[in-house]
């Protein structure tokens, strides 16, 4: 029993991480019909922002922390600023011109953005993995009853809940949030009512940047490794979570991300030994099956379902 609960905690922790990442993707899809492959690279950039940028290709395997050494509030503000700037830059330079393009075109554009960002990271930081040590105290465990829970896991779950509450508050209570929800449902109609599309979309990009920073810090604290493609698996699973949960629905994205995290974690724990390495293949096959049965996901918004 204890073992099972332990696995459940692990699963919820991983699921929270994927839910946060999925929210970042779902938000942009809702507002712009954009499936942002570059979201994974926002996450990578957020992590790389913590270390000293080398002037030449660095051979150091252990990176030196720069922003990563600052007190938490400053660290959050600094990394958020960098990633938000990157996200808005992507919008202003590329996606702004594709606002009325089809979703496949937007997807490919984000693919291109992702490719460019990854290669810029390669130029600046080199291809070699770097190890970092962020918040080492969080590896410690606390005892809750008979369970051992790493502080980091609690932080992950806590951060996810706080951010989801904040996001919900913004969307439901502020004028900006109302405009974003309106634009997500019917972009053109929102424009006819004077909603400034560039502004609303830029804010959506900025918010997705903040969500990416949260994911990157929690992820880096857990794995301790920086590589130029570190965000890609996160993006993939988050992306899949958004799709399963229902495109266009933020609740769906969060639920989908959580579901993918739970599935991945529990499969890891309970698949028989030889099958364990095929865990990812299982997850992806599951996704395909879900899509066949429910192409619009589990909680699609009405706005997204295509009509004849």
């Amino acid at each position: 029993m204890i073992g099972f609960l332990q696995n459940v905690i692990d699963a919820i922790s991983l699921g929270s991480l994927y839910a946060l990442a999925a929210l970042g993707i779902g938000l942009l899809f809702g507002v712009l019909r954009l499936i942002n492959f570059a979201h994974g690279d926002f996450i990578s950039v957020g992590a790389y922002a913590l270390i000293v940028p080398p002037l030449q290709a660095s051979a150091d395997v252990t990176a030196q922390m720069f922003i990563g050494r600052w007190p938490l509030p400053f660290m959050l503000v600094a990394t958020s600023t960098i990633v938000i700037a990157l996200a808005i830059l992507c919008y202003l330079l590329l996606f702004r011109y594709l606002k009325s393009s089809s979703p496949p075109t937007l997807m490919i554009a984000s693919f291109a953005a992702s490719y460019v960002i990854q290669n810029v990271l390669l130029i600046v930081y080199g291809a070699r993995e770097k190890s970092v040590n962020l918040w080492p105290s969080l590896i410690q465990q606390v005892d809750i009853g008979a369970l051992h829970v790493a502080k980091l896991q609690l932080a992950t779950i806590g951060a996810t809940m706080i951010l989801m509450l904040l996001l919900t508050a913004i969307l439901r209570l502020t004028p900006l949030g109302v405009q974003m929800r309106a634009a997500a449902e019917d972009f053109r109609m929102a424009q006819y009512l004077g909603v400034r599309s560039n502004y609303v979309i830029s804010v959506a990009f900025a918010v997705s940047g903040v969500l990416a920073v949260a994911v990157s810090l929690l992820f880096v604290a857990q794995t301790g490794i920086l590589t130029f493609q570190m965000g890609v698996p996160l993006m993939l699973f988050a992306f899949i979570g958004t799709v399963i949960g229902g495109m266009g629905s933020l609740v769906g994205a969060a639920v989908g991300g959580m579901a993918v995290g739970l599935a991945a974690s529990l499969l890891q724990a309970y698949l028989p030994g030889e099958m364990r390495s095929f865990r990812d293949a299982f997850v992806f096959t599951l996704v395909i099956l879900i899509l066949i049965v429910r192409p619009t996901g589990l909680f699609p918004t009405r706005a997204f379902t295509e009509r004849v």
Partner: protein, 357 residues
Amino acid sequence: MTMEPHRRRLETIWSPIVLIGIVAVVVALGQFSGAESVTLTINEMLIRMVVVIGVYTFVGNTGILSFGQVAFMCIGAYAAGWAAGPPAWKQLMLTGLPAFLNETQYPFIVAVLGGGLLATVIAALFGAAIIRLTGIAASIATFAFLAAVNSLYSNWDSVTAGASSIIGIPTVANSWVFFAYVAFAIICAALFQQSRVGLMVRASRDDEIAAKSVAINVVHVRLSAFVLSAFLVGLGGGLYAHFLGVISVDVFYLNLTFLTLAMLIIGGSGSLSGAVIGTLFVTLIVEILRKFEAGVTIQSHILGLPRYSQEIGLGIVLALVLVLRPSGLTNGSEIPCPFSRLSMRRSRSEQETLTSS
């Protein structure tokens, strides 16, 4: 249409013939230069061209963006590797393979065709499952397929050598061999898109509901495009195995998917000419950037770009094309036939389908 049958026949074969001719000229120039690096570049380009033509056969004709075609390249490459790899090595490393593969080393053509066929079979199965999906759901399903195949092949050690590579595949270096496959692919693609089935696929791309209303079985015709596409891409995989002599799984994933899609879109996803010309153009750009990365000496100043500029350059070119000219270099048209008033220009609505809502 009041046109004599001869002229009409000339119309339809003009573009593919010109395309084959252009590629032949490029290959001949490469041979003429004699440099081995040039030959290598051209061979790799020819293989990618087969793959891009395969991708076009589905994406261009159906208007559905598929991220999964490179998975078929992986399947084809490994199938060719299983067939053509040295038996001694196979029996040692790939214990999971059945005897008829483990004990024999099959010749080039058999291996490559085998690759194409395995890809075709899997495409038929997978395609049948997902072909009813459209739009984003279809694209995402193909993406999941790519990831699933990648994960499967990375871990199925007994059959694929997992994270390490299959080595020792006899290599082919003659550009004309690869050229033959390119010509074959062009002819296949051209025949398909002019066939009855091909016309039906394009009709359902332009207006699915209208197509259904004239009793076109949209699902069947799309599936046939998908299967043919996988066959060509699988052939490309088999060729790749024989080009490099070594195959590993991580090659057939996101970067190659990006590259092939970029080639198709920059060239123009609406036409076969787009696939061919896109591949030529992108290869050219990448080569130019590569020269600059190595450093170009202009009047004793060395002008150099940082490493990875090729990739960044390609990403930027693709972004520019998407914003400024979404229908690509060829604008969705085939190569026009100068001998007649009516060129092979496709209607705007055709190539706009993929790139606009």
